[in-house]
Symmetry: D2
């Protein structure tokens, strides 16, 4: 059985040794092992992938016993068990298309039991891929109720994380707080470059020579969550705002897909306001 | 004789035809011809490189007569006559080293008659390359006088443009206004990303996955002048602020050198707050 | 009416002037004008986009008369009339998916009246997008006949160019010769790096740190046609051949889509063994 | 004391645990730990950086005893002790300039006790940086003798590795065999793209849209040694061979400097024909 153990705790001597001992004690053989110490917060994080014939429970006991003294945040997952994502969209399809395309290609180790949208535009596209589509219109009057219904779905469908694939509604602080470090958003701009509306028009007005996109975790402060992945493309004076938007779509879908893949493979740790990513 | 004509005027029909006629009329043969119309400002810009045996004066008369009806901003230069740059530095040498290195390699078609600094740290480096070094200390009490002395040098040495190669003093609005579109600065950050002090520390705190540098023209609003060139590099959580600074140096020197080369070849037009660059 | 005129002829004085005169003579106003002289072959190429109310025929006559003395290859197209592409695939879908996706997004100014494949794997995908699918199995015994049938389709459907979107059959020299400069292939490697079979395995064995893809015109010598577009991605020792293939797919689809867009906008000139591209 | 231990052996269970035990046994605290298993050769490599107050000898004994049963290739270095590089050049200075520049900046943790050249062109440049320059002319008649003198210098000056910074002489197989995995070359091309002479002219003739450079270890088969680092830049039809060469210089110097830095920090392992690099 192939397992991934993610550990996060205060930095101190002996952690790696304790982990390797604990892995040996459950008959495990380490396949990958990555670690990092963030000195600004004195935080130690480690991702250990190992094989064992003794199963998940035995591994959890062995690592729990062996590492308990460091009172770590410890999470062990069987790699065969794919994380379940709830994808939220509005009317732009490019990010969703890429996720479904990679899923069908077998390159994205996740399940997508449900796509939720505040509009019906993408219903047919989603259902043509055999995925359930849920229409969840949102306005000031029903927002709280709709988000409650959404959280119910998250529980019912055993959702592991939420992907905002160009979902153009702001989620309430309560909703974000209910799923800390479990909501990934694609920001159609190179943060902290251009926040707010029409970033590509802002980029055009400013005459920038490079545009980009940013995938980040969602926190109460919408565009300020920990950054997961960013990419850019060179542009020139001849690019109209519309051309920047088209070019931006291509960057957005690649950056979001990359971030979702990193999350699905347990490669992301949130340390303070930053992410540690073992790629 | 090899000439470059740069023309900028309100967009209207017949400009290209008038230019090609005027070039023919002075016995010229067009080698390169690039044009662009900025629709947001209805501005037309054109860069025409041509050869003629009749010399600069004849070309200036022919183009002046033929294009006068468009009341353009028209500038004709003999390519053999290299633009003269005054380079300003403080104590960081990486951008200056690259400029001198490319100059010695014959890759940068400019002359550097003078390097000015508010510190003496780089005196020996500059003089070891056979370039005159001028120490010009600046404080609140003498700033106006020193900038006046600087402008006198610009006139005396027939300086075409000023390059701020990590010059850590803010120039007065009067000084900037005296050399509009003739001062190039390297901003050690990916604008509009991180302005102000210690951008690489800001970038580290924000946990960005990409850092960059920006070369731009200097206006009264220091970091808001028209952008000439930008480049970036991917970074990870493991990069310390010091490592980001080191990586940033490499981007800065390349971006500034590229911008200076574009300027030296008359490839940059300022249109509103943006640049049009014929690369 | 918006027109694009592409001209190619031996370099000589007066061409630009003749073009601008001819455009004026048919009441045209130049919107874009790009030119380049390839000194290795003394070839001059120019792409001129202009507006005229007098229509295509008048423009063709005016430019034909005015430029005839240069005996150019001259091609004028109404931009509203989209080039028609025949796309050929085998069983890999990523490049085809991207083309259809961009088409539906309105970002790719072409029509795809037919997709041809030597296998039936992608039939449903193609038809679900409302595009006709033609199954054309090929083996040694029927190759000549099948290619003849294909050329008949090209004529019948008024196909302007053929896109090999991961078509894994080698076309005969006769077929290539019948459509010179009209067949675009995506090579799943960074030419001239790794030719032949399994380039990503070759790349892995060689331990390269960068992989890429190349879009090029097809000539009798399969991998040696003029290169249109290339892109790359950095990789590490940890990437398995399978991971390189997955990463390669992402590069391939972007590079092919870019090349098709350049072709569809008449931005590509073939000069000797190289391409001149006005982007 | 800050130490780096590099270990390479056949893959088997318990290695990481043995390492962490051995580090604890000499009072060490692990700061960095990276590992990788190459499945094609079943080779395990690990780089462990740790601090201990017991000194190098104690660490060597503890790790030697604890890991001996894996019969590994084990190398432990005190990070304060900088590797010593012998740099070889001919007449092009750009790579050498970058190495000296980064050295003076304090960004390259090496010592350069000697620069050797088969020409005298760069003598003054080298000596102006306070580095000893050795003129070692080579022709068919004296090559063996000169290489013997060179190996004597390597021994006398306790050289750890040799950097060919655009050294345009082919080293004999005997010389390469005498310093296995200790000679780094910058190939002025994107391998395996263009080998042999004038790669940028080859690239221009082929009309490639991207050029690059490759840093690799030197083996008897000159351009086929394990690749350390590669980088590229986009080019267009308008770039002349001379412009490609100039652009190539900028890539070459960055790629070589990066490779030397990786080597100086013990981040490179040679596994079969490939490198494993812990960046």
């Amino acid at each position: 059985m192939d397992l991934i153990a993610n550990l996060q705790c205060a930095d101190q001597p002996g952690i790696v040794h304790a982990m390797t001992t604990a892995v040996l004690n459950c008959g495990g053989n380490i396949i990958e092992n990555q670690q990092f110490t963030d000195h600004t917060t004195n935080t130690f994080v480690m991702r250990t992938r190992f094989e064992t014939s003794q199963g998940l429970a035995a591994a959890e006991k062995s690592l729990g016993d062996g590492l308990g003294k460091f009172s770590p945040a410890l999470h062990i997952r069987e790699t065969a068990k794919k994380p379940r994502a709830l994808v939220m969209v509005t009317k732009e399809s490019h990010c969703l298309r890429d996720l479904m395309y990679l899923l069908e290609l077998g390159e994205l180790p996740i399940e997508i039991p449900l796509v939720v949208s505040n509009r019906e535009d993408l219903k047919q596209l989603v259902e043509s891929h055999g995925i359930t589509f849920m229409y969840l219109p949102v306005d000031a009057s029903n927002k709280a109720a709709q988000e409650k219904a959404l959280l119910a779905k998250v529980a019912e469908l055993k959702i592991d994380f939420v992907v905002l694939a160009r979902y153009m509604q702001v989620l309430s602080n309560d909703f974000c707080a209910a799923l800390p470090g479990k909501i990934i958003n694609i920001h159609h701009s190179f943060l902290p470059g251009f926040k707010g509306a029409k970033p590509y028009h802002q980029a055009h007005d400013r005459g920038v020579k490079i545009i980009g996109a940013t995938a980040h975790f969602v926190t109460a402060d919408l565009d300020e969550g920990p950054i997961i992945e960013q990419d850019v493309a060179h542009v020139t004076h001849s690019s109209s705002p519309e051309e920047l938007i088209a070019l931006g779509r291509d960057i957005e879908r690649r950056v979001l897909a990359k971030a979702v893949k990193l999350y699905a493979e347990d490669r992301i740790f949130i340390v303070g306001h930053r992410t540690v990513i073992f790629s």
